[in-house]
Subunit: 426 residues, 2 copies
């Protein structure tokens, strides 16, 4: 008997018929002797419907008080699907109970609309599991220190599921979604993309952070931090397929490197067109500059991705970074009104028509020249590179968004991902 | 400067445009110097939509665990409209914050789907009011001693509003709804029905309990218990009408009897076709019988209205009572399986095709023969009376539901309510 966390995405919960299928699937696992905690997302379209209503009524300039109400609003979507799933499980003859984030409680900080989980109390959940109940924990939400409802940002239910799995030391966290696993790249862009049976945690982290939409990045971070075995699999297989077949389907995100297997140099090509580029020009080159610029940005709860500082010329340097496109105008405004005057920099410029393309692979650790092979490939396609950022297992470039598909396809071919080997790493 | 509670019904909150009008109306009151607490219902149709989804998924036989989930589900409707109203108020330039029942907290017992308020903590609300905020308290819901969400039953937002007004010792509780006040009877049944400018609390209590749909009965009980001045008025007057005109419109439910005014004998005709009649036949006539029958019913959280015990014949008696039609089958089942065997009664029979018609009036206290005038009127129309129940200011009869409209129209004429005197009592 194992303790297993299931997470179901919005499409999987998209209608009463689908919720009934989720209940049947969960019941199958429960009857096989497992303890089940289920984290459902809002029914697909519900969050957008709610935020659409908010858009009609909210002030043009959203502040903290308004974002608090947005969270109050958006959190209801998951509460609805949790209660419905509990009833569907009861109709299957199981004992089931659902909890909102504040009831667990899942404690978070107060960064409305993008809060971070600080702790999860497992007492109530364990007592219910011991009593033979299926426990439903409402995803995407938590409660801050002052008893205000918070939400974890888009895709936050993945993070909820992994965090709950970590708190309960679950054997595995199964992320049921509308795709059947993690691919070498988005099959809508490259028809030859292949499903990976296993992928290392580090690679998945880079893939997710690079915009691979299968999992929210923070859920992968959590999984890594607490070593929660994570599996991405499809909720659209028939609910009554053999449990063992189901349990080994999809893509396993693993922490063990299997040394006996040959590793591909590059496991996947990730891309992201949700970012915008901002440059602060003519910054006096003195200590503390990076903090002066990015400290203000961080205080406004804006996440920064790539950061580049060029070498200085005549005591002045240019400082560039990328943020989410939704934060683009807010960041520009913040820099112009608050940072620029204090800093004595020349100007702030930005560009939202960019994309980021990355090659990701554990194999890059032990192979030299992988980055230059990437640059050569892009150069041969005539694609200009605007920014470069590297880590141990990833190289990312920022390019004009119009070249995105071309770049991804070329790199997928360049790094031999168009073939049919199934297990890449792990 | 007064502390005033506004309550807006589902129709008043039925669209973003209407919510914006509510925000403008509240802003008008706030700018006039008042402290405002607003209790909104769910957007019209939302509760039915949610319960419709539940009906597709929930077990056929609902139990406590299932009703807990129904409350978890239904409570989201009010949370949505509260958050939207907060944002609309912020867009009007006001400082506003919304609280779910558990955040206040509004503590209730654990009778899911029909919980009763036990206490309201006013600390958080007072602090926000003192800080100049408009406070929105989510109606219809609370939290029980174990941290489970509860709801107060249909129309429960009225009760929330009055209870909040009582806790805060508000000057007045304004119930904004889609009708412009309390009428002598339902204008859809009797075209000559008139709006009452004032009605006494006792009369309103009887009117509400008899099925006059303007206010939930428990809200009137609360208002009476804590002497909260209550006004029922329309939310469909333009939001920018003169505040004093608005403040004196609708119907005031009052606690002061104005001795100088002549009182009508009967203030209104109430009716109710939501009930069903149940009779336990051949009950051994011994002490404790009533408790044995109704104790089991009360334990199942089924509310009983009219109760009649006939005189005994040969040591046996018949015991009749009415319950809400929704509880009819459940009550029959309960009596047959649990009560009848222990009691040694002959049989249980029931009829759901009944209605209750009542005459209500403070003036009945000091006038004799009012009840017999009612029976004579019904007799002249050939309507058979099945049950009779009386109180100090009300006489009710249970009749075949097919005679309901005829009975109400005849009684409305009989007691001179068809005329155009405006102030009846109070």
């Amino acid at each position: 008997m194992a303790l297993i966390v299931h997470k179901y995405g919005g499409t999987s919960m998209g209608s009463t018929e689908r919720i009934r299928n989720v209940a049947r699937r969960v019941a199958k696992w429960h009857r096989a002797g497992h303890q089940l905690v289920v984290v459902p997302s809002a029914m697909s379209g519900e969050t957008n419907r709610l935020l659409g209503l908010a858009k009609e009524l909210a002030p043009a300039q959203t502040d903290d008080a308004c974002e608090r109400e947005l969270d109050m609003l958006a959190a209801t979507g998951e509460q609805v699907s949790s209660a419905l799933l509990a009833m569907a499980l009861q109709a299957e003859g199981l004992s089931a109970v659902s909890y909102a984030g504040w009831q667990v409680p899942i404690k978070t900080n107060s960064a409305y609309t993008k809060a971070r989980i600080e702790s999860i109390d497992d007492q109530r959940l364990r007592a219910d599991l011991a009593a033979g109940k299926v426990v439903i924990v409402t995803g995407f939400q938590g409660v801050d220190g002052n008893g205000h409802i918070t939400t974890l940002g888009r895709g936050g239910s993945d993070t909820s599921a992994v965090a709950v799995a970590a708190a309960l030391k679950a054997s595995e966290c199964l992320i049921y979604t509308d795709v059947d696993g993690v691919y070498t790249t988005d099959p809508r862009v490259v028809a030859q993309a292949r499903r990976l049976e296993r992928v290392s945690f580090e690679e998945m982290l880079e893939m997710a952070s690079m915009g691979s939409k299968v999992l929210q990045i923070r859920s992968v971070e959590f999984a890594g931090k607490y070593r929660v075995p994570l599996r991405v699999l499809s909720s659209f297989t028939p609910w009554d397929i053999d449990l063992n077949t189901e349990a080994s389907s999809g893509t396993l995100i693993t922490f063990e490197e299997n040394e006996t297997m040959e590793q591909a140099v590059v496991s996947g090509i990730a891309f992201n067109r949700d970012e915008a580029k901002i440059s602060v020009l003519g910054v006096p080159d003195r200590p503390g500059i990076a903090y002066q610029i990015l400290g203000a940005v961080a205080q406004a709860h804006i996440e920064v991705d790539v950061i580049i500082q060029n070498i200085s010329k005549e005591g002045k340097t240019d400082f560039s970074f990328t943020v989410h496109r939704n934060d683009f105008q807010k960041t520009l405004h913040l820099l112009k009104t608050q940072v620029l005057p204090a800093l004595g920099a020349a100007d702030v410029v930005g560009d939202a028509r960019i994309c980021k393309v990355s090659i990701v692979g554990i194999g890059m650790r032990s192979h030299v020249g992988v980055a230059s092979r990437m640059f050569k490939c892009l150069s041969e396609e005539g694609i200009n590179i605007q920014m470069i950022s590297t880590s141990e297992i990833k190289t990312s470039v920022v390019i004009d968004e119009k070249y995105m598909e071309l770049a991804v396809r070329s790199l997928h071919r360049e790094f031999d991902l168009d073939q049919t080997v199934d297990t890449i790493s792990g």
